[in-house]
Each structure stands twice: as structure tokens, then as C-alpha cells.
Symmetry: D3
Subunit: 334 residues, 6 copies
């Protein structure tokens, strides 16, 4: 399997331990994350060859971010340095009926000022076989949108697969672009759609419901509009509260509709990055297995991510497959 390429902002995540608020303790922990990076690291943990492309600050914080990424064995050779600071997000982890809260400091970050000239896409995609993008990057700045578009264009020219997770986040998109138009343009370079009815409605301007029939109809209309898209995968979360979720997935690949059973996450450790874990499982799975097995793999990966602190899924292929083999009772592994 060739190199998987991810492109997006690297953020420093800072949060108090457990369920504390910042007002309760001046001792906090940090990890690094970012939706596309999370996908990349997870695939790297599955044994994939992954390159992440980004911009980090030219200081000890940027150096620490690079070290963090390198420890997972990722290729950081296309990460650029900048005089601007690394983006930061602060997180207070909720519990039960209390939601987690996030505050961002990213609007003038090292990444936000990226422009196409900063990335040598030819070189960056040299070994590339698959590229993954999300709706976060084009929402950050005109330069981020332009740079991503240039990368996707080349990726497609090189015949690479392109997976899209076109999440729409209304708190971003401050720089003037119309989200729907921008996402539409980028989806024309994509082959795998990771998202559900909400995301489809967003880009098509439709109003499909959440049932399986509507999902299939929505997927079909999406594929009609974007002929490069071959498959649609939707992860479905049912939340009792902050601490108790269920995860399942469904798919339409132009031929078959399939869905998985719920995995019951009775004690959520950390939900951040669980969607990214699903995308990573899917990208890895589609290169190894058939569509349904890939979706099952992705669901189990997503479920496992809920048990790791931090943004990234630390599970190995062996561990994900053990879940699929039914080992979900938590029996000690020696």
C-alpha cells in the first residue's frame, strides 16, 4: 500500500485532568491534534505509511509538535515552519449531562496563513496513493482553501483516491467564502464520501431525513451530483449523555446498503477525534478489505477511540480486529 497523505492544521490541545475546569486546577495536560492529523496518526498506528502536510511554529512548541508526530513514525518532511504561533485549543471535559467545552485560539495561527506557494505538492505527493481532506481546512482561510484545492487537483491527476469528510462547522468560515460553494468545488475531486445525511443536505441543499431509505436516496443524489464519488459511509452516534454513547455505521456503495450493529460505549473516556478514528479505519480498511468489512473495521476503530485520552486513536490493527472477533468483554491481555 502506498503513502496516505493528510493535510491540515496541527493544534495544541490543553485541558485539565479528568472533569476539572480550568478554574479548578493550574495543572493541565497537552496533546496535539487536528482532524486530518488524527486520521493520519491512526493510519500510521495501523502500520500505514503516512505523510502529514502542515505548517507549525518555528519555536519550541512547533518542535514539540513535530516530535509528537514523528513518534508515531509519520513522514514530516513536508511540514513547513512559520514565524506565527501554533494554534491552540482549550478543552474542559464534561461528564453525564454536562457537555465538554472547547475554546479556540487558531484564527491567526501558523497554519491559517498558509498559501499555495508554501507547499511543493509535486514533491509532497510523490509516493502518494490516497489523500484525505475534511471540511475544517477550507473553513480556516482563503489560503488554506486554495492550497488544499491545489493538492486535491494534483492528487486526482495522479490517480490517487481521495476521501472527503466535509463536516460543516458554522463557527469557522470567517474569511468570506461561501461554505456550500467551497465544499462543492472540493468534492468534485473526491472518491469516497465520509458523512451522513446532514453533510449531504449541506452540500446539496436538500432536506433528507435520517432513516435508511433517505440515506440511500441522499447518497444516490450525491453520487449523481459528484460522479467521482463511489461510496458513502456514515457513522451514527447515539448519545445517552456525555459519558455513554453507542456507535454504528451504514454505507451505500452504489450497489449495496449495509449497516453494522451498535457498539455500546458505556463509559466514554474521550470522544474527541472519534470521527477521525472512523475515517482512518475506513481508509485503512478499504485498502485491505471489502466495503462492509472496512466499515465494520472503521466502526470498531471508532468505538475503541472513545477509550483513549487525547485526539488520536492509538489502537493497532490487531486490537481492532480483536473487537470484531467478539472480544468485547475486556478480558485482560497478558
Amino acid at each position: 500500500m502506498g503513502q496516505i497523505v493528510t493535510f491540515g492544521e496541527v493544534l495544541m490541545r490543553i485541558s485539565p485532568r479528568g472533569n476539572k475546569k480550568f478554574i479548578q486546577s493550574n495543572i493541565v495536560e497537552f496533546y496535539f491534534g487536528g482532524t486530518e492529523l488524527n486520521v493520519g496518526i491512526s493510519i500510521s498506528n495501523f502500520g500505514g505509511d503516512v505523510k502529514h502536510i502542515s505548517v507549525v511554529s518555528e519555536d519550541f512548541i512547533g518542535e514539540t509538535a513535530l516530535a509528537y508526530i514523528r513518534q508515531f513514525g509519520m513522514d514530516t518532511s513536508s511540514i513547513v515552519l512559520s514565524k506565527r504561533p501554533l494554534g491552540v485549543y482549550f478543552l474542559e471535559v464534561g461528564a453525564v449531562i454536562r457537555p465538554s467545552m472547547i475554546s479556540y485560539n487558531r484564527s491567526h495561527s501558523a497554519f491559517s496563513e498558509i498559501v499555495p506557494a508554501k507547499v511543493n505538492w509535486e514533491k509532497a505527493l510523490k509516493k502518494g496513493e490516497w489523500m484525505h481532506w475534511t471540511g475544517i481546512t477550507p473553513a480556516l482561510s482563503q489560503g488554506a482553501f486554495d492550497t488544499l484545492k491545489e493538492g486535491l487537483k494534483l492528487a486526482r491527476e495522479k490517480g490517487m483516491a481521495v476521501s472527503a469528510d466535509p463536516t460543516y462547522r458554522s463557527d469557522l468560515w470567517k474569511y468570506g467564502q461561501d461554505p456550500k460553494a467551497a465544499l462543492t468545488e472540493l468534492l468534485h475531486y473526491s472518491t469516497i464520501f465520509i458523512g451522513g445525511v446532514n453533510e449531504i443536505n449541506e452540500v446539496l441543499g436538500t432536506e433528507f431525513g435520517y432513516g435508511n431509505d433517505d440515506f440511500i436516496k441522499a447518497s444516490k443524489q450525491l453520487m449523481d451530483t459528484f460522479p467521482t464519488i463511489e461510496k458513502v459511509f456514515d457513522k451514527i452516534r447515539t448519545s445517552l449523555n456525555s459519558s455513554w454513547h453507542k456507535i454504528r455505521a451504514r454505507m451505500w456503495n452504489g450497489v449495496d446498503f449495509r449497516e453494522t450493529k451498535d457498539l455500546d460505549i458505556t463509559h466514554v473516556v474521550d470522544r474527541i477525534g472519534t470521527g477521525d478514528a472512523f475515517a482512518a479505519g475506513l481508509i485503512y480498511g478499504l485498502q485491505q478489505y471489502d466495503d462492509y468489512k472496512a466499515m465494520e473495521f472503521a466502526s470498531a476503530a471508532c468505538a475503541l477511540k472513545h477509550t483513549y485520552e487525547g485526539d488520536v486513536n492509538l489502537a493497532t490493527v490487531k486490537e481492532v480486529n480483536s473487537i470484531l472477533a467478539g472480544n468485547i468483554t475486556g478480558r485482560l491481555v497478558r
Copy 2:
């Protein structure tokens, strides 16, 4: 809304992290608390103007307690210094079938030696509109009882509302007073009763059961005995075990009986101070809303408190109202 006044002991709470016992780790955390202070801080977090009256030690521990209280924006100008040490309580947090355990070191604390001469109630209640007391303070010492009585008397003379949470704690009351007589005397200065059938039976010497009918009858008899009391609010906890509770509330305001639905706290973080969070929600709510909405607000506040470490409820009005608006699935707030 005028100033809310709380009066009671400030305790330093010391506990190991998570579910550890002291024998397992010599690293511990401290917060400050005390039932009336907890009420005050919570109301302050709701935006109320709150003054807490107490006695703290004249050393760096007392200074730290004052700083703790001030950070919430409270008025500490009527807190008195003493040569005696601040009261301390040690806590080991249980889990599932293991109960939490508390050991107190408060019997000769700075607060326990309070006498009426130490508090200038005229000055202390100058801006006061509401005063709150609990059954803990009169249980600590004769001086505490006397000082509280003097304050309540003046509060009523000034036409302030007075809420009473006359919890009876059999492990206190060591100084000779008869609990029933003492609480009875103080209830004659009160307008809102926060408590259930147990507390009513305690002061009336009755034996009402826990059903709603008995609750109404008990409330009526209470109001007959204490004509100043206008409303009775009862918070009901159903515990599966240390880690899983349900919270609801009911009320009798002389006209209507109402009750709320259960809020399911599937993963309790910290139950200390949840009753105080209910009282605080009620005091704030009764100044803003009708009785039923106030009780709903108080229940949601109480439920939220279970998700914060420490004695005090850190929720804002916006956060409590978000629960009442149905946002209980823990969806991330950005």
C-alpha cells in the same frame, strides 16, 4: 436582585485523587467548602451578589480560603479572622458499592468559637435581600447557634426572605443543645423550607411516609406550625450505588403540588455539595422564575453539580438552562 447572605463555616477539604485512599498516595488535592458557602458560591456563579459571613484562621490557610472565595466574586468583607485553625475535612471518594468516607477536624476550629459579638449584623445585612441557613451551623456550638439566631432575627426585621435547609446531622450537636428545640426556634424566622419528609418529621416529631400524599400533608402541618414558611421544596435522590444516582424534586407552595422528572446521573463525579447546589438553584430561581420553574432550575443545577469535583457548583445560568432546554446528550460546545 439584592444581596444574598450566607453564614457558616468554611472548611478545607482534602482528598486523594480519583478513588484512592490516603494510604495509597501522599499526593492529595484540596478545595474549600461548607454547606452555606457552597450555596453562596453557586449563586455567585449564577450572577448573584452574594456575601458570605464566617470566621477563618489568621494564617496562610485562612488567606488561601479567602482567596478561594474571592475568586468567585463574592463579598468577603464580613469574614472575621481568628487565631484558631480553619476546620478541615478529609474525604476518601468511594465508587460503586463502596461509600465515600469523611473524617472531620472541626470541633475547635476558627468558626466553632464564634460568638454574636464577632459579627456586626447591622453592617453585614445592609444590602441583604435574602438570607440562607442550614442545620449544620446551629449544630456546631452554642456561639454558632446564638450568632445565627441574632442574624436571622435581624434579617426578618428587615423583611428579608429566609431559606432554611434544616438538615439534622446526628454526629454534630455535641455542645448540649436539643436539636429539635434549636431548629424549631430558628425555623420561626424562615420563609422557605428546603427539605423533605425526614426533615419535617425531625422538627415536628411526626412520622409521615415518603409518598407524595404524605409529603403534602407533612408540608401543610409544617406550615401550620411555622406560619412564616410559605413553600416547601424537596429534592429526591435515588441511588443505585455511589456512582449512579437519579435526581428529581417536588414542592408544595400552599396551593400547588408539583414534581419534576428524574435526571439520570449515570457516572457521578462528585456528590458532595449537590444538595447545596439544589438550594442555590432554588434561591436564584425563586427570584427569577415562578415556583415550578425555580424547582426545575434547582433540580438541573443539582444534577449538574454531580459532574464537578469539589464542594461547589460551577455551572452558569446558561448551562443550567441548556439542560432544561433538553440538551442532555453531552454534545460538544465550541
Copy 3:
């Protein structure tokens, strides 16, 4: 009640906090444990007079292990020092569907090189009334097997009770002995069998099922084969996942079959050593109560252990009996 004697390896357990992996934090915690030691410490916490026999390293780690054991009031006078390092095990604590993982560094530890000449059993068992052994010790090395056998032989000659927890762990037994033969030999010195159908099938070579009838049949055949064995106690765990277990127990004492109800452990804190907590509860209980009450005591002790971090049960007799008295709702103890 005379002295209870336990014999086995002392391991240093090292793990990151909460559910972290070692890759996520370079701050870790250590406890000491080891299946027989865990049993001994728990009995000591019940007020028993317990001696643990072992070999620890002659360095500051061994000194720390000794201090750890001594703090529980145990007799360490028969623990021997060695130039070899103390065994270590690394633990990553799972959650929900993620299992906990353990990696051992014990194969050339201080204990593994024990030989009979190192232990003066006459002196070690001088005050002994009961000896407990498990299937771990004979699995470690020929010397460990030989030393244990010598101890058991003397124990029986002195008329001591001998409890056996003959767990079979396939990842051990590297030194050449046949597990079945070895365990069989040792069981001939035993009077109480702590184990279920799996363990019985292992030593008898039978294939009994898990139902109660099969359990009784298996127990009978076991007692036929090993006439010294008077009673069989079986702890049954039902796991929803890593974080949610149920515990019950059943017994056959040659006359009666009895079983307890499930205790629901909805939020597991630490499952390591819960089997040892059961054995400890049983040994203590059988010296104080009738067989059924002893089993109930053991089950409650086992359930409580799930709420303590580390390998050992910190519950007191009073705390276990409080569970048996129905106090399982986690009401605060002041």
C-alpha cells in the same frame, strides 16, 4: 485465629494513570502485588495475623517493597534478600471494550531463583494455622515448585489448613514441568479448593460444563480424586465490558450446594487482584463464619476490590459486612 501464611512472588506494578498508555505520559504510578501477597494483605486488613514468604531484591526497590508490605502490619521476617532484581509488571488499564494489557519482566527475578534451601520452613510455619498457595508459583521455576511443595508438605504435617487457587496460566510454565502433573501433586496437600469448572477440568482432564449441575459433579469428582479437599468455592464473573462486571459465587462443601446473588459493579476501578480478594475473604470467612456466610463475605470482598486501585483489597471487615447488610447505595459515611 493463628497465623495465615502466604508464599509467592512480590512484583512491582507500574502503570500510567487512568486509561493512558505508556506512550501518552511519562508519569506513572507503582504499587506492589503478586497473587499470594494480595491474599495476605487483604487478610491482614481484615485483622488477621499474616506472614508472607518471598524473595526480594537487595536494593532500594526491594526495600520499598518490604516497606509496602510492612505498612499493612504483615510479618516479613521470612522474606529473603537476593542480588537479582525484583520482578516488574507493566499495566495499561483499558476501558469499555478495550482490554487492559500486561507485560511482565519476571523470568529472571529475585523470586524466580528461589530454591528450597533458601526458606527455613520449620521457622516460617511456627505459628502457622493456614497456608495459601496458587497456580502461579509452581509455574515460575523448578525451584519455586520445589520450595512450595516442601512448605505444603510441612504445613499438612503440622495439621494446617491449606487453600489452593490452582489457576492455570499458559503464558508461564516455561521451565519444563507438566502443569497438570505439578498441580495434581500440590493439590494432594490441599483442603480448600478455590476455583471453578475450568480449573477442575484442567487438573482432572475432564470436560464439565458451566451449569450448576456440572459444577457439583465436577466438585464431587475432584474430591474423589483429592480426598483431602473438603470444599470447593467458585467465583463467577459476568463482564459486559472492561468497565462493567457482575460478581457472584457458588460452593459445594460435600453436602450443600449454595450460590449468592450477583453484585453489580457498574463502574470498575481496577479488576486486578479481585480473585485474590475473593480468596482472602474466603480464608478469613471460613475461620469466622459458616461456609455460606464465608462465601457471601468473600463475594462482597471481591466486589469491593473492584473499587480500589492497585492489586490489593483495602476493605476492612466492617466495610465488607456493611455491604452484606445491604448498604450498597453508596451513602456517605461520616
Copy 4:
């Protein structure tokens, strides 16, 4: 003594413990600081009535900053909220020959976008008797410069004393202003100059040397140029390395030259904010004592600050005066 007013950015300071680098630990601590805030908090700890004027973010980080400032008993009523994030600085604490390193994320912070219209100076200075400014604020943005100038102008019109610490930091001043011109303009509103030959040379364009004679000459020329300035105070640091400093001070008040002896800081705990501690000591001292005693008080305050972690001096007046009384041998205080 009336209210002291400080105006400047509030920064969140984040650093690993001890001498670790971020790459070594993902557990870090935070405090809040900012040169003018540090001065204000220190004076508040001396018992002064202090108001800090600033802009903080309207999120849980800004709330935490406000709570931090409030705990010291400061007046935060003129602090404004903003949708932009709070400024952050990352710190790696050096040792011996390794310097501490700082990386800022402040260029688009909540404070940097201040404009005069955001501060109601009339109201803010209502009780003001003294205002303090530093060279950091005018270096941040045009709006910060303009707002400060407006405040200083009003302060002088009201007859307030104005102390200036016109440090020149070449890494700031990115917005186009000429530092010398800007500082010159602001110094015309000042009555006390806190700085040495370097700072005087910077604003006068002179090249005075470091000797006492040059210091006197420079001070005289400064006073000639800025007739409102009545006194010049210079703190002198001699550094053996990061961990070992000596502190002394000298002054010219138009009449007398005086200097203090060195205080030997053999084991520096934290040097950040020590200059601010000097300024705070001076402002407090000049209101209580004669010029020389004020300078001695400021020097001892500065020396004490080296023993506290974080940006702010936590010493009380009693503690500073104890140093001046010769208690520098660290004898335990019970």
C-alpha cells in the same frame, strides 16, 4: 491611600514543571501574568486598593483569568470582554548556563485589539491616586498606545502620580510606531521613572555608561527633558547564571543619590516578574516611606519575588520588612 490603577495585557503563562522542556512532559502548569498586572497584584498583596484595566476573552479561559485576579482582592470592574482569545506565553525554565525561553502567542489577542472607545477612563480612574504604565503596552498595537495615552492624560489632569517603567522590547513594536517617539510622548505624562541607564539612553538617544556618575548625569538630563519626572529608580541585577543573581538598587531624586547593598539570590526559583515586583514595592513604598526606604523596600520585594513561582510577587509588607530587618537566614516562621 487611594486606588492604584494598572493597565495592560493579561497573559496566560504555560510551562512544564521544574526545568523540563515541553518535549519532555505533557503535564504543564499555568499562571496568569503581564507586567502591569504583576505590579498591581503585588501592591494588592501589600494591602493596596488596586484596579487593573484590561481586555480578556469571553470564554472559560477569560473567566479563569478574572477569577485569578479577583482572588487577590483586586478591582476587576473595568476589565472588558472580547471575542478574541486571551494572549498566551509558553515558558521553558532554564537553569545555570541554560537560559529560560519564552514563546508568545499574543499578536492577535483580546487585548491587542483594544481601542480607546473600549475603556471609560473617567469611570476607571474615579478613585485613582496613582497610575502605572510600562513600555510593553504601547509596543503592542496602535490601539493599545492610544488607549494608554488617553488614560495617562486624564490621570495627570486629575493630579494622579504616574510611574513609568519604559522598558524597550525590540521583539514587539510591530505595528509601525517609532518606539522612541512613542515612549517620549508617554513619558511627558509621568512623574516617577523606573529604569536605568539603558532605558534613559533609549529615550534620550544618549550613550551614558553604567557607573553611578553616569547614572546621575543621565537622570538629570532625563529630568531636564521631562520636567514632570521627579525621581529615577534603577534596579541592578548581577547574574552569575540563570540560577544565581544579586539584586541592588540606586536612585536620584533631584537632590540625593543613594544606593542599596546587594541581596544575594543564591538559588533563583523564578525570575519572571522580578522587575515588576520592584516597581510594585516602589509604588507602595513611596506612599508609605521616604525615598530611600521605599527603594530598600522595593529591592527586598524584588529579591523575595525570585523565590516564588509564577509572574507575581506573593510577599506581604510584613515579609518584606522582615528582610529589611535583617532576617535573611531563612529561619522557620511558626
Copy 5:
């Protein structure tokens, strides 16, 4: 060597890490200590058989204190339980010119309410060969004084050696006794005096100076007054500041005056309990060596204690002797 017996209060010591103040962090550490206990633990670490006699609280804090003491292998069989809380002291560790500060919560502690009837001295001293007391115990309460006196009397009747460290602490002695009279009475039961000119002046009412000649004269007069006293040992501390001390010792044994050289403690870790480490070194040393070697051993032990956190000296005999053999350059020991 027979059993050494110490008698005195066990205190829980609580302090923030490093040089933090309580206002700076809600994470604190605890140890247990108490001047006589510190002596006992240190002797136990030297291999001595030591019994500590005290009163601790009958709760999980008292249990933790007992476990702490037991871990050092000490005999706790004469420690009594009480319904009152354990004494606590809070410590803020200073640095350089900042002194450490202590605040006590001990005046109504478990130990303070001791009376002679609580201790069975016959049984407690059964194996005793040496008893050690300090000026703290008689300063706490009449009951503590009486109980100590009873113990000392019996100790002398049994021919035990008695070492006295009659430190006078003016912040204690609140219960009415005259310190001088009380200490005088107790010194009549003592054979070894650990203290210097200050302590001698205190009990004799003399005004000797600090020089060696005065020390000898003072010692002679002390021995004249208290004929049971055979030897006087004085530890001398020279403090540059909180972080840099020098330690030496001198002695008069009725025949010889001797003094040791200074040991230079350039980086003090924790000075609490260093005097107790000296006393422990002396008691151990006098049983093994001649007077001068014992004093040297005690000085090195005292110096080493400055490098351990907490109240107690953790050094072994081997480690102390290594210092005396000249290994003071800190060469790594593998």
C-alpha cells in the same frame, strides 16, 4: 542493642510541592512527622529496634499514620486510638531569603488529650534500653507532661538511658505550666543532653555566650545541677539563607571537649527534622561508637537529612558512614 523508645505526637504534615504557597496550587503532599517520631524512624532506618508511643485518631487518617510508621519496621503496639482528630501542620517551603512558614492545627488533637492512664508504661518499656524525649511533648498539655514524666520515671527505675532534647518553643506551653520548672523536673530523669547554650541558659536561667569556652562552662554547670546528665552534645547550624546551611557539632562529656568540622549543605532540600536526625544519629552512635565518633555520625546524619523531603531521615548506617569516609562529592552509586 535493646529497644529504643520514643514518645510524642504524630502530626500529619501537608505542603504544596517545591516552593509553592497554598494559594498557588490545590495539589499538596503529605508526610507524617513529629520530633520524637522522627528520631525513632531514623534509628529504625539505622537498624535499631524502636517503639513509638503515641495517640492517633481512630479513622482513616490515623490508620494511614500507623501504616506510615509500620512501613519503617517500627513497633506500634503501644500506640493508642482516640476519637479526636490527628494533629496537622501546614508547611510552605521557603527559598533563599524567604523563610519556610508553618501553621499548626494541634491544640485539641488526639495526642493533646493524653493522660497517664492511657499508657501502660510497664508494658511499653518492657524491652526498653533507651528512652528519648523532647521539649515539645511537655509543652502540649498537662496530660502530656504527666504521662511523659511517668514514663521517664519508670525508665530510670529500669536503668534505661534517657536522652533529652529540651528545646523550648515559646509558641506552645499554653496550658499553664511554667516551662522552666517543667523542663527542670524532666531533666532530672535524663542522662544525655542534646542541646546548646540556648537550651542550657533556658533551664538554668544563665546567660552564657556561644563560644566554646562558654559552652564548656555551661555544660559543667548543667551537669552540676543535673547530676544524672553525663554528656552534652550541641549541633551548630550556620545559615547563609533558607537554601544554604552549614552543620557542625561539639560536645562535652565531663572530660573532653571535641568539635567536628562544618559540613556544607549548599542546596538544602528540606530542613525540617534535621535536629531530630542529629539526635537519632547520636542515640544510635553512642550505642555503637565512642563519644566523638558518635557525634561525627550524628553530624553526618543531620547533614544527610537536609537532602530528603519530609520530616524523617531516610539514610542508612552505610550511607552515613560513607559520608564520614569522605564520599561527599556525590559520585553515583550503582
Copy 6:
């Protein structure tokens, strides 16, 4: 500059924080180290292309070790996995006159069982320009010695430079080899000798003294005996105690004797790995600078290492050169 290759054991280092002993806290920190790895990581931090060759355990501890090494950007492609556990060392950090203490658990580690067949040296040295070895590796096992020898032989055949740090550690060498003979054999493959008179005396069997003249004579005799050795570099440590060292260096390159001035390390943070930092500085320096400048660079690197926790030097080339440019007063770097 080509690839630098290091070969040696990777150890997990575990130690309590600050100066605590294991008995004082069950919270500990870990890093990874090993003398040759330390050299490699430091060179990597200088920007060099470094490959480390080793054997690590095939479990989550080995995975964590790999991640640790990868974060520094090193080539781990020749690191082999093993079923045996990773070596561990426990460290208690001393202070002042208390030495640090180390206890190893490495004698049956993953690395100790290496044999030549496990390393493909052809492939491993493909890009190699320089190889570094120390006296630790050949001391561990026959296989380690044999494997190292095979690597050195090939390195020399390929014309690579070979630096030797032939430290003799008497606590190792348990497997039967004669240390002198083994080191002699390996030195015949070496071109740079990093060591002083002690190390030369060890391999030559001579008794040279420590003066510069003897150093030159010893170096000459060494070069006569080992004609491939071109240069000798000696780092000299002067220790006042554990916490205060001075570092200087001297060299003989066959032509010139040179020595540097002392660098004064008044507050040692961590001395482990400082010799490795010197070697790394030398290897890097000799590829960039003349011999004297290289030695100065190495000395400054070594001095800087004393300020970082853990085994490895985290300094960059810029930071080392800043020391050489005279910036040793610890002035803040922004």
C-alpha cells in the same frame, strides 16, 4: 555529513520526582536512555542524521521506547524486536552530599541476548560515516561483544571514523570475558579515543597520574599501542558535591595539547548522560570544526546537559554556540 551510527542497549529509566526516594512516593517518571543512544539522540538534536541499532521488547514498552527514539527524528529501521523484556534502571536522585543511586534490571534484557546474526551490518551501515561505541556494550554479554566487534570491523573496512568511549564498569562484565583484553581488541578498530588517564591506564595497564604532562604521555603511549587512534579527548569533572560540578576538557591530537576553562555548574539538575553529551558534542564538532573548537563545543554541550532532566542532551547547536559566545548569565531568550 553522512550518517552517524550508534549501537547499544535502550534502557527504561524510572525515578521519583526531585530528590525523593521510591519509598516516599508511588508516582514516578520514566525516560529512555542508554549511553550510546544518548550520544545518538544528542547528535540528532544537533541536526545530524543518526541511526541507532538495538534490540527492544515486542510489547507496549518496546513500542514506547521506539516512539521515544523516533520523536528525535532518528532512524530506527535497524532496531530489532525480541520476546524478552526491555532493560530497566531505577534511579534515586541525590543532592549535595547524598549521591544518586541506581539499581539495574538488565541482565536478561532484550538487548543482552543479542547475537551477531540479529544485525544485518551491511544494511545497517549503508549510509554510515561514523560509528560510536562505548565500554558498556561489550561488558553486557558475549553476544553483545561479538556483535559490536563485527560492526566495528565492517565500519573500518568501509573507512568510517570510529569513536570509542571505553569506560570500564566493574559492576558489569559478568559473562566471562577479560575486560582489558576485550577493550583492547575493540580499540584496534577505533580512531578517536574519548577518555582520560583512568581509561588509558585500564587498557594499557599503566599508572599515569592526572596532571597534564602525564595525560600527554599516556595519550602518546596509547597511540603507539593503537596506531589507528588519532586523537584523545578527556572531559574533567570537579565535584564539590552532587549538586555542584565544574566541567573542563583537554586533548592531545598527536601534535597539540589544549585545554578549556572550567564551566561552573552551580545547580546540577541531572548529571546522568553528561559524558554522553560530551561525546556527542565531540562527534558533531569534529565534523564541523577544528579539534580545539570541537572540544570546546563538546564541553559546552556537556555543561548544558547538566541542566536537562533525563539521560539525553536536548540542546541545539545554536544553544551550545551561544554558551561558547559567552552567554552564560542565563538572560531570558524571547
